[in-house]
Amino acid sequence: MSEHVDSVRTYTAVWLVLLLATGLTTAVAYVDLGAFSVVVALLIAVIKMLLVALFFMHVRHSTKLTKLVVVGGLLWLGILITFTLADIWTRGLIGTPGR
């Protein structure tokens, strides 16, 4: 098999960073960053997701096809969220006749 076996050291480092990020996101939640609170929380969550996916789920060693499917899936999720919010957030911007 052309398996990539990562070292325990690598996994331990990723695990510690994940725990650190959890502590950070919890602590920073009590700081008033205004609208940026959501941005920071999501940013940390995305970093954690990437660490889990790339290292623990071995995406970085996966075939190109698998990588394409993963990115494609996230793209569809992006379409779902973006288009729905584009609708919700822009309602009422233009006066609709008859409403």
Binding site: M1, S2, E3, V5, D6, V8, Y11, T12, W15, L18, L19, T22, G23, T25, T26, A29, Y30, V31, D32, L33, G34, S37, V38, A41, L42, I44, A45, K48, M49, V52, A53, F55, F56, M57, H58, S62, T63, L65, T66, V69, V70, G72, G73, L74, W76, L77, L80, I81, T84, L85, I88, W89
Partner: protein, 222 residues
């Protein structure tokens, strides 16, 4: 490449040319399934985002009533279980049966700890009358309907996540039995690998559930 003819007849199905091709196909198949799961949970995350936008002050109040410390502890528990899971996969890659069994047991235990903490948390909600229904009451707002909407989403999302955890624990138990029966070799450990993908995926869902449900409105104060 798997050169052992014996191992190949045991592990390689006839539609595949090589063990590597077979493994890549399994990994791809699992990812396609996980993508459907992402879209499934994605719809709920979207619903939560939209309702939080529409009923903002009440959703912020309800969100801040959750126990963030317990949520953080449970996040740590789940991350630890992902760590032991990845070590289990590594042990199976190296053909270390004892290490594989130990790490699978640790993952299973941490999974149960997560579910136990979850049960404690839900019980708290029942005692605080934060479960949607006739006796529901959230202090500090007159909009009880909107508050119930938050807790409906809270229970639906954490509940479905917990259901995935229960299924994950079932998969771990099955893997444990197979490992005990010496079914896995470095040439054939696909079930451990694919089971690991599922476990980590459930972890990722929680990585997003935790800040979105518990944290993002914390700074407004109660």
């Amino acid at each position: 490449m798997a050169n052992h003819a014996h191992a190949e007849t045991l592990a390689l199905r006839e539609q595949f040319d090589t063990a590597e091709q077979q493994k890549d196909a399994s990994t791809l198949g699992m990812w396609v399934f996980l993508i459907t799961e992402i879209m499934f949970f994605g719809g709920m995350f979207l619903l939560y985002t939209v309702y939080r936008d529409i009923y903002f002050p009440v959703f912020a109040l309800a969100s801040s009533s959750l126990n963030a410390v317990i949520g953080a502890i449970n996040t740590a528990v789940l991350l630890c279980s992902s760590f032991t899971m990845v070590l289990a996969v590594r042990a199976s890659q190296l053909g270390q049966r004892n290490a594989l069994i130990i790490f699978l047991i640790l993952t299973l235990i941490l999974g149960f700890v997560f579910l136990g903490v979850k049960a404690y948390e839900w019980n708290e909600k029942f005692q605080e009358h934060h479960v949607p229904g006739p006796t529901f009451h959230l202090e500090g707002t007159g909009e009880q309907g909107e508050a119930q909407l938050f807790f409906s989403l809270y229970f639906a999302m954490t509940g479905l996540h917990a259901l995935h955890m229960v299924i994950g624990c079932g998969i771990m138990t099955w893997l444990l039995v197979q490992a005990w029966k010496r079914k896995f070799t470095p040439e054939y450990m696909t079930p451990v690998d694919v089971g690991g993908l599922y476990w980590h995926f459930v972890d990722i869902i929680w990585i997003f559930l935790f800040p979105l449900l518990y944290l993002i409105d914390r700074h407004l104060g109660r």
